[in-house]
């Protein structure tokens, strides 16, 4: 049968405020699936033009798919959110790029013509599901030296990246981190972030975290506005004695969820849904697992090549700050300054947090807001590193583009 590839658009995205993992964190007594459910419901409230019965898929990512992140989360969250039973769902895992993969996989299906509109998102409750929970790595990884042992520990891979590129110093990483906190605080002050947050009712029964009873999470918990280089200089380097990676120049361990509506452009136009971004290309690429943080470079190369664009065509970057070094490695590769104004305008994961599989959609939501504000920009890019040596990049076109300079 003859086919036409359809344009795929990002309609809208929301997320929960991100929390700090652990007993004092805001979500310590909140289920992961509830975070997803509430995000989906907020998306639907914000987009009444989308008839829930017309949703063709609910793709939800989580890295650790057990307990409240198991049970085929896309399906169960759909039922819990009150979607019609006719709407199917499934779970996705590509570790940190889970939500991004939920977007690209369903986008592929939309382009193919299988779907009109989907919900794509992700969740990670790292307090309830610490990294590595229940894993059982094949012993051949070690016995046959398929990967270096450090590949299993993300912080160590970040140290390895510093080794590989000696010019990426701790000083640069720290400076980048300070800037991220500053930009995030400014974005909050300007109300850029809150508009896409889903308030979450949070319960606390143990007084060690603060006042007990029901509360409401309305802002990211990990933020440390006012962070200075001096503050960061003294932090421990937990992954290596006298190393470079610290809690200050990396994202923390976090809890949170994201969700987005991805649709065929014709469907979105027909139902008068917002069209915030148009997907141009995406790519995933692999590198040696022990330098996982380098993954965004080949992924970006590949995505640019598929799009027929060059790096100079990109007017806005949303790069996941799992580690500052991973971001500056990409920037360094392209000769972009660490403080280039096109990069992470609202700050990044160092400030907001990085609940693994959820983060991809946060990048998209923020890029979409920046597109709205900056119609002179035509193309934007999101990129992130992924465990076991991968990178993920998506390139988007700004539908508000006014023919300006970039």
């Amino acid at each position: 049968m003859p086919r036409t590839v359809r344009d795929v658009v990002f309609v809208d995205g929301v997320r929960t405020p991100f929390g700090k993992a652990g007993p004092k964190g805001i979500y310590h007594e909140t289920r992961a699936d509830d975070l997803v459910v509430k995000s989906i419901r907020e998306l639907l409230r914000r987009n009444p033009g989308l008839d829930p019965a017309k949703i063709d898929e609910v793709a939800i990512a989580a890295t650790t798919q057990i307990g409240d992140q198991g049970l085929t989360l896309g399906r169960t969250a759909g039922i819990l959110a009150g979607l019609p039973q006719s709407v199917p769902g499934y779970s996705i895992d590509r570790m940190c790029a889970g939500a991004l993969t939920a977007v690209t996989t369903t986008a592929g299906s939309i382009a193919f013509g299988a779907y009109d509109a989907v919900i794509a998102g992700g969740v990670e409750h790292m307090g309830r599901h610490p990294m590595g929970e229940g894993v059982d790595p094949n012993p051949r990884f070690v016995s046959e030296k398929l990967v270096d042992q450090s590949a299993m520990f993300m912080g160590m891979t970040a140290e390895n990246l510093h080794d590989r590129f000696p010019q990426l110093t701790k000083q640069r990483a720290d400076e980048y981190a300070v800037l991220s906190q500053e930009k995030a605080a400014k974005a909050y002050a300007n109300g850029r972030i809150q508009q896409d947050l889903v308030p979450i009712a949070i319960r606390r029964t143990s007084p060690e975290g603060g006042e007990t009873g029901w509360g409401l999470a309305t802002a990211d918990e990990p933020m440390r506005p006012g962070t200075t280089l001096e503050n960061l200089a003294g932090l421990k380097t937990p992954f290596r004695p006298h190393g470079r990676v610290t809690a200050g120049n990396a994202a923390g361990l976090n809890d949170g969820a994201t969700a987005s509506i991805i649709a065929a452009e014709d469907f979105a136009r027909e139902h008068e849904l917002p069209v915030k971004m148009r997907l141009v290309s995406y790519a995933f690429a692999g590198v040696e697992p022990e330098v996982m943080g380098y993954g965004p470079v080949p992924a970006t190369e590949k995505a640019l090549a598929k799009a027929g664009l060059s790096i100079s065509d990109i007017g806005l970057f949303e790069l996941n700050e799992a580690f500052a070094v991973q971001v500056i490695a990409l920037l360094d590769h392209y000769g972009i300054a660490d403080d280039d104004p096109r990069v992470n305008q609202y700050g990044g994961a160092i400030a907001f947090g990085h609940p693994l599989a959820s983060s991809g959609v946060r990048l998209l939501t923020q890029l979409a807001r920046q597109f709205e504000e900056q119609p002179h920009v035509r193309y934007g890019l999101t990129s992130m590193c992924v465990g076991f040596g991968m990178g993920a990049t998506t390139i988007w076109e700004n539908p508000h583009f006014d023919g300006g300079t970039k």
Binding site: R203, T212, G215
Partner: protein, 710 residues
């Protein structure tokens, strides 16, 4: 006030050291829409939803302290509003009844009412608006604390919302009687406070709470608190306006109260004071004077707490809630054998009803047998028709209806039907020889482990089992008509019944969702024996010369669901006669067979009354049959005769060990005969009316069990 609320509560808390104390956590948050800083109070007793949050004096003191804090914050402008919600699935289910049971004097009872008011009232007098978020089950004081708030939201999935006080024998006394009619109008308030309570404590669901106007907004469970807080922000910012219909304070107010009195009369016949006290307060608060109404609530609460009806009500409530779940004398439940197929001997109406019940509750194959195919087809047809009705009403879906229909079958050949049955119940003609034959036939074809149960109402279970090879597996399984409505199941242990069979019977009863009470194999077991003695004495009084209307009225002060002769009509005079004959054979000195009743039955009459005028009037044909003596008693004399007889019979039954305790007698009367809570079944009433002492020289229950403790 000379005593502060805190002091009052401290004193009350000392009386109730075992209280499960509810915390009132105060937590601050930023409202959405930039609406400002907000203090949210969470009521939480620290347990999960299986132990709902209640209010005792210590809990009220905690809420009071929380209100001290937010009152200050409201006054100094550091918060814009205050909210109140509960732990997951539970808002609050009202006063802790254990704390009410221990109260010994009027003054302490008054203090409970007053202190509750003093604490709750503060929610309506803060410098900022207050919001209650009914996130889960809310009853009694739980409902009332929310009524004191400025606004309310309710969760759509809320399973139970009620002011059940009148059901127990109290009034909604922490503001319910005063506030509810002023919020939603007297008619709806009467419906919630009186009608629902007296209608087996009917519960409201979330959407009804909203439709009645009790809550201002309704939100779904998935993000109830988030949406409630967003709504709060929107109200505070003036973006949402709450409009409530004006309450009509005209004649309709009085009409609503009058209707409430009619409802109360029809249910308790003036015999229990709670509904009337509540209606008095509702009637008076037409003038909008809340404080006077609060004072009246305090007084009503204290009076009722010191009264026998409430104590009986709490006793009865505990019987049906607790004792019913742990039947006295039931063997270790681990001895029970699985029941994967049920046989029913007989396919008449009773047998068909039993088949339907087993089918729905056990969801295993049920086989009916009878003496000819026509009867069997009729029985199976009845079950199918009932399943169709359930389907039409939406009580089961098509898949389940298909499943149930496939599960019920009928066969002529018992061997074919019962060869793999684990439980066979007979519902054939009440004649010992017939029953013995049936059980012998069943024993010949059923597996050796199968329970043989009998639904006999008056025959000896031991005698029925006596000719069997395995008499230890015979149990009495006595249901009450209508089987689907009355919860009681008398489980009769025959002389040879073994523990495993009995345990299996109890396990089946539990799956059938019946209230099982273990009884000895004594004539007519419990309910029929007491009712027959009761009715027999009425009949005696009539036969001796007391006019029928006097005899009937003599019992009215008890507030039984119906008069004795109306009950006889319901049972059927022939069956009544049959049971009285059985008991007369067993206990000829106490159970008589009324010649007048015999004459009525022989004349083929179905009752004593005709209803041509709309009201019951003695059927002239019956009147013509009656031969009365010349001893006419007063109502009081008649009542004493009847109650003395009942007290004597229960005393004898307990001496014989028919049941373990008087509590089981009461549980049987409540669940098998519908005798009211305010009588506590009957023994609390007999005790407090002095009948037990007069007849047996001692009360049935120790003081404090269903009465004010010593």
């Amino acid at each position: 006030m000379s005593t502060t609320t805190a002091e009052l509560l401290k004193g009350a808390a000392e009386l109730f050291p075992d209280e499960v104390v509810t915390s009132a956590h105060v937590r601050h948050l930023d409202l959405p829409l930039g609406a400002g800083r907000f203090a949210l109070i969470t009521l939480d007793n620290g347990f999960d939803h299986t132990k709902p949050t209640t209010f005792g004096p210590g809990s009220l003191a905690n809420l009071n302290a929380a209100l001290d804090q937010v009152e200050k914050e409201a006054a100094d402008g550091s918060i814009v509003a205050v909210g109140l919600t509960g732990k997951p699935f539970i808002f609050a289910v009202g006063a802790d009844l254990k704390g009410v049971e221990i109260l010994k004097n009027h003054e302490d009872a008054l203090a409970i009412g007053r202190s509750g008011h003093e604490v709750f009232k503060r929610l309506s007098s803060l410098a900022v608006p207050t919001f209650a978020y009914y996130n889960g089950a809310a009853m009694g004081g739980g409902v009332e604390v929310g009524l004191h708030c400025t606004y309310r939201t309710v969760v759509k999935s809320l399973p139970a919302f009620a002011l059940p006080e009148v059901f127990l024998g109290l009034v909604p006394g922490w503001g319910g009687c005063a506030l509810l009619p002023n919020l939603i109008g007297p008619e709806k308030a009467v419906s919630v406070i009186i009608e629902n309570s007296l209608n087996q404590n009917k519960q409201l669901k979330g959407p009804q709470v909203f439709e009645l106007g009790i809550a201002d907004a309704l939100f779904e469970g998935a993000d109830f608190l988030e949406q409630s807080l967003l709504w709060t922000a929107s109200v505070l910012k003036g973006e949402t306006t709450v409009e409530r219909p004006e309450v009509d304070r005209g004649a309709s107010w009085d009409a609503a109260v009058a209707k409430g009195r009619e409802i109360a009369d029809s249910k308790v016949h003036g015999a229990a004071p709670a509904a009337y006290r509540a209606l008095d307060i509702i009637a008076a608060v037409k003038n909008g004077d809340l404080q006077s109404a609060y004072d009246a609530e305090d007084k009503a609460l204290a009076d009722l707490i010191m009264g026998g009806e409430l104590r009986s009500g709490i006793y009865a409530f505990n019987l049906v809630q607790k004792r019913a779940k742990r039947p006295a004398g039931a063997p270790d439940k681990n001895l029970a054998r699985p029941v994967t197929k049920v046989g029913v001997v007989g396919a008449g109406l009773m047998a068909s009803q039993l088949a339907l019940l087993f089918l729905r509750r056990l969801e295993v194959p049920v086989v009916l047998t009878d003496i000819d195919q026509e009867r069997i087809d009729k029985g199976v047809g009845y079950v199918h028709a009932e399943i169709d009705k359930l389907l039409l009403k939406g009580r089961v879906n098509q898949d389940t209806a298909n499943r149930y229909k496939a599960l019920v079958t009928g066969v002529l050949d018992k061997a074919e039907g019962f060869s793999d049955a684990d439980f066979v119940i007979e519902a054939v003609f009440e004649e010992i020889g017939v029953k013995q034959t049936v059980f012998a036939e069943v024993e010949a074809v059923a597996p050796a482990h199968a329970i043989l149960a009998t639904n006999t109402s008056s025959l000896s279970v031991s005698e029925m089992a006596s000719k069997l090879k395995n008499p230890e597996r015979v149990v009495g399984f006595h249901f009450f008509n209508p089987v689907a409505v009355l919860p009681l199941l008398e489980i009769v242990r025959g002389e040879q019944t073994d523990d495993a069979s009995l345990a299996t019977a109890f396990a089946v009863a539990k799956k059938l969702k019946k209230t099982a009470v273990l009884t000895k194999d004594a004539p007519a077991f419990v309910v029929n024996r007491i009712l027959t003695r009761f009715m027999g004495e009425i009949q005696n009084v009539i036969d001796e010369g007391t006019p029928i209307d006097v005899a009937e009225r003599s019992i009215e002060p008890l507030g039984l669901p119906m008069s004795p002769l109306v009950l006889l009509e319901l049972v059927g005079p022939a069956i009544g006669l049959h049971v009285s004959e059985t008991l007369n054979r067993a206990f000829p000195d106490r159970f008589t067979v009324s010649p007048n009743l015999k004459a009525v039955v022989e004349a083929g009459k179905r009752g004593f009354y005709v209803y041509d005028s709309g009201k019951p009037e003695i059927d002239p044909e019956v009147a013509a049959l009656l031969k009365q003596g010349d001893v006419a008693l007063t109502e009081e004399q008649a009542r004493d005769r009847v109650l003395d007889a009942v007290a004597e019979e229960i005393g004898l039954m307990l001496d014989e060990g028919v049941v373990a305790e008087a509590q089981d007698i009461d549980l049987c009367l409540i669940t098998g005969a519908g005798w009211p809570f305010h009588l506590g079944g009957i023994t609390p009433y007999l005790d407090r009316a002095g009948v037990s002492e007069r007849v047996n020289g001692k009360p049935f229950l120790a003081q404090g069990v269903a009465s004010v403790p010593a």
